[in-house]
């Protein structure tokens, strides 16, 4: 299987998915998801204390993915580590075989399960991307030479439907300038709006993978519309989910996701998709089947 870097360069449509490390040391379910997905996608993102909830580190799970023959993307947030720890984590990831990193700001600690924690945010996502670029050139953030450089493919995130969008686009451009080679977007559901974003993003030398979050119920869709910044599930989709037989809404969600992916691919709208089936990772193969 080609590496993620090769896939980004050569494949017309790249597919990544996300796995979330567990809280606690029982990794059986996680390993099951890794086995299930590793050959069906070009890379697997591993979240970093997702939603500020304490779990196994992204790096440890990235290594587990490598052990099982998959290709990981290390997600690294600025919330829990200062610049020493971030650089140390990046060097450690590289020597353990991780080749891809997604640089994020990170959710605030108050949304998670240790709201009393001291938030760090020593760097921001743009500065973290710059740091990766420096480590790739055998320098650290303070300008010191190192013994052995990294060679990461760095990525970042963007919210194509943020409101207001202009400050978000300025940051997008800064991330490109700071070395981001690929973007995985916040969930998109409105193809027309996303096309407009892509008309803009196409001007930059980066690959864009559209975020696909699996909808499992009308309630979830409404919840995201009301509570998750930058996510807008059109009413037409919410109705489709609401009309589903009891217990069957997830099948509708899989069909919606599959159809979205199919259209993005057929129309060449973007360079791939990033599937987030939060808690329903075992259904990702069904989404991929629905996308055929």
């Amino acid at each position: 299987m080609p590496s993620f870097a090769q896939a980004l360069q050569n494949k017309s449509f790249v597919v990544t998915a996300e796995v979330g490390p567990p809280k606690g040391t029982d990794v059986s379910r996680l390993l099951h998801h890794i086995e299930l997905l590793k050959d069906k996608v070009d890379a697997l993102n591993v979240t970093d204390n997702q939603s500020s909830v304490m779990r196994i580190s992204s790096l440890a799970v990235c290594r587990l993915i490598l052990d099982h023959g998959g290709e990981p993307i290390l997600q690294l947030t600025c919330r829990d580590r200062n610049r020493l720890a971030l650089q140390s984590e990046l060097l450690s990831a590289w020597v353990l075989g991780v080749k891809n990193v997604l640089c994020l700001t990170g959710d605030y600690v108050s949304v998670g399960d240790h709201p009393q924690a001291k938030p760090v945010f020593d760097l921001d996502s743009v500065q973290l991307l710059r740091t990766v670029e420096l480590l790739n050139s055998n320098k650290d953030l303070a300008g010191h030479d190192m013994q052995g450089a990294t060679g990461f493919v760095a990525g970042a995130v963007v919210t194509p439907e943020a409101d207001p969008i202009e400050p978000q686009l300025i940051k997008f451009e800064k991330k490109v300038a700071a070395g981001a080679k690929f973007f995985q977007t916040q969930a998109v559901y409105d193809l027309e709006k996303f096309k407009r974003f892509m008309d803009y993003a196409r001007r930059f030398p980066v690959k864009v993978l559209a975020g696909i979050v699996l909808l499992v119920s009308a309630g979830m869709a409404r919840y995201m519309n009301n509570n998750v910044p930058g996510i807008f599930v059109p009413e037409r989709l919410v109705e489709q989910l609401a009309k589903a037989e009891k217990g069957k809404a997830i099948e509708v969600g899989i069909e919606i996701a599959g159809q979205m992916i199919r259209q993005l691919r057929q129309d060449g709208i973007c360079d791939g998709v990033h599937i987030m089936a939060i808690g329903k990772e075992e259904r990702v193969p069904d989404i991929l089947a629905a996308a055929q």
């Binding site: 605030y108 949304v111 921001d124 743009v126 710059r130």
Partner: protein, 228 residues
């Protein structure tokens, strides 16, 4: 100015419970303005403490005095005449004032009556908002006079995070997103070029605690006095 909030009556009663003779010392500057530890607040608290002790059948002497500022030595000096009469002193100053009082009277137990909140402004009557974190390296020239170190929960320097929503902050929807404010201000000024510039990581070495600052005009006199 420094904005502080008085500790709850229960907390204060609890702190003072081992003592029979207490001096409450107010501070007439910042905390008087924000109605936490000025003359009026001291008077009210002292009366409340006396009434409470009486109801509990407890012996408690509470005296009160408010000085101009507890962060200046000259205003602490007059207390020397009578401070020994008390078992404990409740300082109604910010954390700096409490400590300065404790340094001056190092054989006295000085207790804090307030929780110090932030450096801020009076946004509306009875409402104060934080505006400065004293980062020791002001960047307001780059951000249209709106401080992301203070007003962005994540002190981001290069634009908003993905949590910003309709101009509000992901941490508290009741608060403005600093970077949306900065964007709008710079747009109005025709200076969005400032926002497009990649800001390097902050230099936290300049804000190493505990900080000290000597005015240039006083460098020489301090060196002389140190040599003496």
């Amino acid at each position: 100015m420094i904005v502080a909030e008085r500790k709850s009556f229960e907390q204060i009663v609890d702190m003072l419970s081992p003592f029979e003779r207490v001096l409450v010392v107010g501070c007439g500057t910042c905390v008087a303005v924000c109605m936490a530890g000025g003359e009026k607040e001291v008077e009210l608290l002292a009366a409340e403490l006396r009434m409470h002790a009486q109801k509990q059948g407890k012996t408690l002497l509470v005296d009160e005095v408010t000085v101009t500022r507890q962060c200046d030595k000259e205003y602490l000096e007059p207390l020397a005449k009578y401070i020994d009469q008390y078992d404990a002193v409740l300082s109604m100053a910010c954390g700096a004032g409490v400590q300065f009082l404790a340094e001056r009277y190092d054989d006295k137990l000085i207790l804090p009556g307030l929780d110090t909140r932030f450096i801020g402004v009076a946004q509306a009557p009875g409402q104060w908002e934080q505006r400065c974190v004293a980062c020791a390296e002001c960047i307001l020239d780059q951000t249209g006079g709106i401080c992301p170190m203070t007003r962005c929960a994540k002190n981001l320097l290069n634009g908003p995070c993905g949590g910003t929503n309709h101009g509000k902050c992901e941490v508290d929807a009741g608060k403005d997103c600093a970077w949306t404010l900065i964007y709008r201000k710079l747009e109005k000024l025709g200076r969005l070029d400032l926002m497009r510039k990649i800001q390097p990581p902050k230099d936290y070495s300049v804000a190493t605690k505990p900080a000290r600052y000597v005015h240039p005009a006083f460098h020489e006199s301090q060196q002389t006095s140190a040599a003496e």
